[in-house]
């Protein structure tokens, strides 16, 4: 029990430090941005027709004249009290915007995460078990092709083929245009999410498949697989009984590490598909100098990624008998 508490305490401390560092880095980068919030958001022409008082008011609103330390510490103390401020662009509480955007993105992210995990693991195990044969060459070729393809370009390609040429799916947004929000069906939402989710999955697969393949090759060359063969176990039996079992641990690491890649990819993909999710909000906030919103999104996504890694650590304890039995004895 003491061991568990120590583990949890260490993790929490690490998470606090990580979030502090990430928010500070995002803040400093944003402050160093050459974009002038007034020119970007109000426009040169509008600024020219304003009085000095009006401009001063706007500068106050965008926090241009407040010292950096004061701005950051002000944000930090409110954030610690649970108040992430109000978005400068949307004029709504940051948490409310994040909540709405996350609700839109979550399905997308989860679908992409699960699908790329399952596909990546299957293809990787298959390629590793049949190393050097044609399924292996096919999987490897496909993965190398995909990993050298930029995500946004792949998104454009899918958009062109399935939305423009074939017309199977809508070309953007998360709901149909000109329909009341209440009357949008779940099926409509699903149809809008398919292409972005597919893009994210496809890019996620190659990394997981190639890493899983490497591990599977190691397993197939191990002493225990040699012994299994010597004992007359067939290749499918070896893959199912020994391969999957021993690939499971690295697969868990890969799967939870891919959370950050999926979230990172969603920024680009949502932009291409004009999908009003968290990734798109991050881009809007960054380009529009909306400091509270950007910091809110940064901190939240960092927390999600960190949470993923903690989940992987916890699952290790369930899957790896060395940790499980060791902890039970301690």
């Amino acid at each position: 029990m003491k061991h568990r508490l120590q583990f949890a305490g260490k993790k929490l401390l690490r998470m606090a430090l990580l979030l502090l560092g990430v928010s500070l880095a995002a803040f400093l980068l944003m402050s160093a941005s050459p974009l002038d919030p007034l020119q970007t958001n109000v426009g040169q022409a509008a600024l020219g027709s304003m009085s000095q008082e009006q401009i001063a008011q706007l500068e106050d609103y965008w926090g241009v004249n407040t010292p950096l330390a004061e701005r950051y510490l002000g944000w930090l103390f409110s954030a610690l009290q649970g108040d992430f401020g109000t978005s400068l662009l949307y004029r709504q509480p940051v948490l409310q915007i994040i909540g709405e955007r996350l609700a839109n993105s979550l399905g997308l992210l989860l679908f992409a995460w699960v699908l790329s995990g399952i596909l990546g693991l299957t293809l990787g195990v298959l390629a590793g078990a049949l190393r050097g044969r044609w399924p292996d060459k096919l999987v490897r070729g496909w993965c190398l092709l995909i990993s050298s393809t930029p995500t946004f370009w792949l998104a454009l390609l899918l958009l062109t083929v399935f939305a423009v040429w074939l017309g199977w799916f809508p070309s953007g947004l998360s709901v149909p245009i000109g329909v009341e929000a209440d009357s949008v069906t779940a099926l409509e939402r699903l149809r809008h999410a398919v292409l972005p989710a597919l893009t994210l999955s496809i890019t996620g697969v190659s990394n997981i498949a190639l890493h899983t393949r490497e591990k599977m090759v190691d397993v197939m060359e191990s002493d225990y697989v040699l012994f299994a063969r010597a004992r007359g176990e067939s290749l499918p039996a070896i893959v199912l009984r020994h391969g999957l079992r021993n690939v499971a641990l690295p697969a868990i690491t890969l799967q939870f590490a891919s959370v950050s890649e999926i979230i990172g990819g969603s920024v680009l993909v949502e932009q291409v598909f004009s999908y009003p999710g968290l990734g798109q909000a991050a881009v809007t906030a960054g380009l529009g100098s909306d400091m509270p919103l950007l910091l809110g999104i940064t901190v939240l996504t960092a927390a999600i990624v960190f949470g993923g890694n903690v989940a992987a650590d916890l699952l290790y304890g369930v899957v790896d008998p060395k940790i499980r039995r060791g902890a039970a004895k301690a």
Partner: protein, 312 residues
Amino acid sequence: MEPILQVEHLSISFSQYHRGTRKRTLPVIHDLSFSICPGQVTAVVGSSGSGKSLLAHGILGILPYNSALEGTILYQGTPLTQRRAEQLRGREIVLVPQGVTYLDPLMEVGPQIRKGRRDPRSKARSRAVLERYGLGPEVEKRYPFELSGGMARRVLIASAVVEQPKLILADEPTPGLDARAASRILGHFRELAEDGAGVLLITHDLELALTIAHRVLVLYAGETIEEASAADFSAGRLRHPYTRALWAALPQNGFTPIPGTQPYPGEISDGCQFAPRCPRCRPECRGPGPVPYVPRAGGWVRCRFPEGGEAL
């Protein structure tokens, strides 16, 4: 008695890339012949790098993909083809490997011994073999990392004999064990032979091999240089200078080392491989042509001028 396994002129070689792009074949075992009778323990003795483990893998048909096998292997008088080996391995022909790394680290011992079968008969059988080697039923629930070295060896033997094999290939079953544990493990093999199985014991430890083996086969640089009965050693009837040197290097026989090292595969020269280290080497030993493997005084020898005899 009809031998259960006959190996005739067996050669195993690897193809590998040499200096980047040139492919070359590396002979590891060359012109190996012997036979094993039921009820007998035949030891194959050689220092590391002499290709001993590959011999077992070759018989089982589990050599790596970049290797090639030539020669004949007869099992119960019929050629042991790849297909036949696949059918027989794990059932009639079993391997007892070196150590705990040959067990799946993430699987409990019981399911490994049973190869995943869950029927009551298999369970009773795995219990029985574990008990035979002094391991309680609680061992079934353990993971390999929870076994001691000696327990792991006994689990490996148990997993091999759970099928009641006729031919047992034991690949270095004793390293890392103290003398008492090692002789107990070897005793198990002797016992299996007494029950009627043929046992091939692959080891680098001549002293331990002699405690249980009926016949001893000495490998040098991938070739068999002598086949002798266990009694020939203590009676001083050894035929080959290398075997004599091995015998003399044992602590109780003077602890006398011989200079030099065994040639690596790929460094094979013409004539006798042992010539550079042989105290009795003559000009004719260095070739041309390989030295023939010939029967002599109840054993076999690969030497032009064997001990205790005139030139062949």
